[in-house]
Symmetry: C2
Subunit: 334 residues, 2 copies
């Protein structure tokens, strides 16, 4: 069988199964693994605190197109997506490693822009860039690893959602996917709108502070929206063995997207890369979170009992289920 | 200017300079950086212990050729090179992240072999594989990150060599480069020799235990041999601002390499990827290390005062300098 038939999530399951089989052989290290393969970041019981670690790779022509992306945007985004994974655990990022593979014919000046921008974003969160690796390669591949920690014992996981909980999301959705449509050719004549869309897709601001506040307010379950709202909610549902119902009219689509994109609902549901936090908790906690956060928090649905095969249902204002295409971004399938 | 004109080490210097300029902005995180860009691994002051972190990328057709390498060998090597970086700091590896980018037309069975082999090596050192990332890509790119720690406050660094110290190396050199020559077409008819060479190049065993013993015995300066003996010794010399002299007849070339490769001295000096530990210390400490280690330890020269431009001199038995080509492996230059 080919990897493309198995798909991204099938391949992750395969890796997880092989790793799980080996756990008895190396007991000490496995006992310290608090969260292993299949969450936003791994969590590890260190002396006196919980370490968090995450890594993400951007591949040229898969994750980005150098004809559409400036180097400073790429440096920013490569770090931002990893900081977002630490945010989705409710953690505090400490330091980062950069592994950069690229063709030798690239301009040194572009590399400077790339690094300067990454360092700038790192500085926003007090993150030090402490090491890494450079290598020649036929196309650009950027891997960033971020190590962080959790203040206390609490973490935001994917596996702890319960029926009856509300589902909420920070900020607005659909902006990043709309930005990509614009970069790929859709004409947006208004310069300010153009900026907002470009920034959303290429220079997302990870919700690091917000993730920590979610933990402080008692939230236990969260993920960042990278694959898309429906896809990422499905990840929570699979990990937690529950179902979820999204009320389509509640989904906070950004006004700029509504105004310029007739397919705005679709962009918000499936677009991905918004790097907002999607979380579940009971009503009281969500009310506290709304008070505590400085950004919009919108309740978009609720967690229900497990009922297979469909994990996530999207309903209209009358509660009728709306047919939708499955999932969001999946490598090897898209 | 192109990256190829700047070279691998020029690009690393550029990154280090940009990062260094930003240090005032993010004081808390920089104060905790004990060892930053430019050593085998980064070291970070955590609560009560020192964290170590390293990442390394293998790119198809740059670092490996799938026509010459089995998937199980690739899985082993991708982790081994990172464990070797932790070994070169005298640290203990704890857990690993794997970021795997690959074309969808690859066979799932090959991926299983790859992961099983990586998990096998991880088990040898009690390392847990706790997370990572998979993505589609036009060619295979494997990035492994290993996080570890140091037992006490002592570390093996590149910057602490002093004039008068001896230079020593574990094990034998040249085997890995000889293995590569064999894989690329040189005929070795003896099956056992063939095995030794193949294993040396594709399934190196990192000197993790040995690195820890070096620290215990008071060694302060070490690097693992990945770029080549002369190149890696040059890295120590540059970091420590010293020179070094290698006595060519002392370099421990493996008997199999001597017997089969007329260019054996060159393979041992420049070949690289032996993943042995190269270290410096005074005579008393080296004598203790020889007692404490179970592998061969050979003194191959000594550290001398800084005298530019040439960092490393290779001398014959009469003390006459032997001309040699500069450096070992350098990305964008080779």
């Amino acid at each position: 069988m080919k990897v493309s038939e198995l798909g991204e999530f099938g391949l992750i399951d395969l890796i997880r199964d092989i790793v799980a089989k080996s756990q008895n052989l190396e007991r000490a290290s496995w006992q310290k693994t608090l969260v292993g393969i299949g969450d936003d970041a791994a969590a590890w019981q260190s002396n006196g605190h919980i370490e968090l670690a995450t890594t993400d790779t951007l591949v040229q022509n898969i994750h980005f197109d150098l004809r559409l992306t400036r180097w400073e945007e790429l440096g920013w985004k490569a770090l931002a997506v990893n900081l977002s994974d630490i945010a989705a655990m409710g953690g505090i990022p400490s330091y980062a490693l950069l592994s950069l593979s690229l063709p030798g014919e690239l301009e040194v000046e572009d590399m400077s822009k790339f690094i300067n921008s990454m360092v700038h974003l790192a500085g926003e969160f007090g993150v030090a860039i402490v090491g890494g690796n450079v290598a020649a390669a036929p196309n650009v591949v950027i891997t960033v690893t971020v190590i962080g920690y959790s203040k206390g014992k609490a973490l935001l996981k994917r596996s702890t959602a319960s029926p009856g909980e509300q589902i909420a999301v920070t900020g607005y959705l659909g902006l990043s996917a709309a930005g990509l449509e614009m970069l790929q050719g859709k004409i947006i004549s208004e310069p300010e709108t153009n900026n907002i869309l470009r920034q959303a897709h290429l220079k997302p601001m990870p919700r690091v502070k917000e993730g920590q506040i979610l933990v402080e307010q008692g939230v236990k379950t969260a993920i960042d929206i990278s694959d898309g709202l429906v896809a990422d909610l499905s990840h929570i549902c699979e990990s937690s063995k529950v179902n979820a119902r999204i009320k389509i009219e509640k989904v906070p689509v950004h006004p700029v997207v509504i105004a310029n994109f007739p397919n705005h609902k679709e962009l918000a549901l499936y677009g991905g890369e918004d790097y907002e936090l999607l979380f579940t908790a009971d009503e009281t906690i969500i009310a506290r979170v709304k008070q505590a956060l400085n950004c919009p928090v919108t309740v978009i649905g609720d967690i229900t009992k497990e009922q297979l095969p469909t994990r996530v249902t999207v309903v209209d204002s009358k509660g009728n289920s709306i047919p939708y295409r499955k999932g969001g971004w999946e490598h090897f399938k898209n």
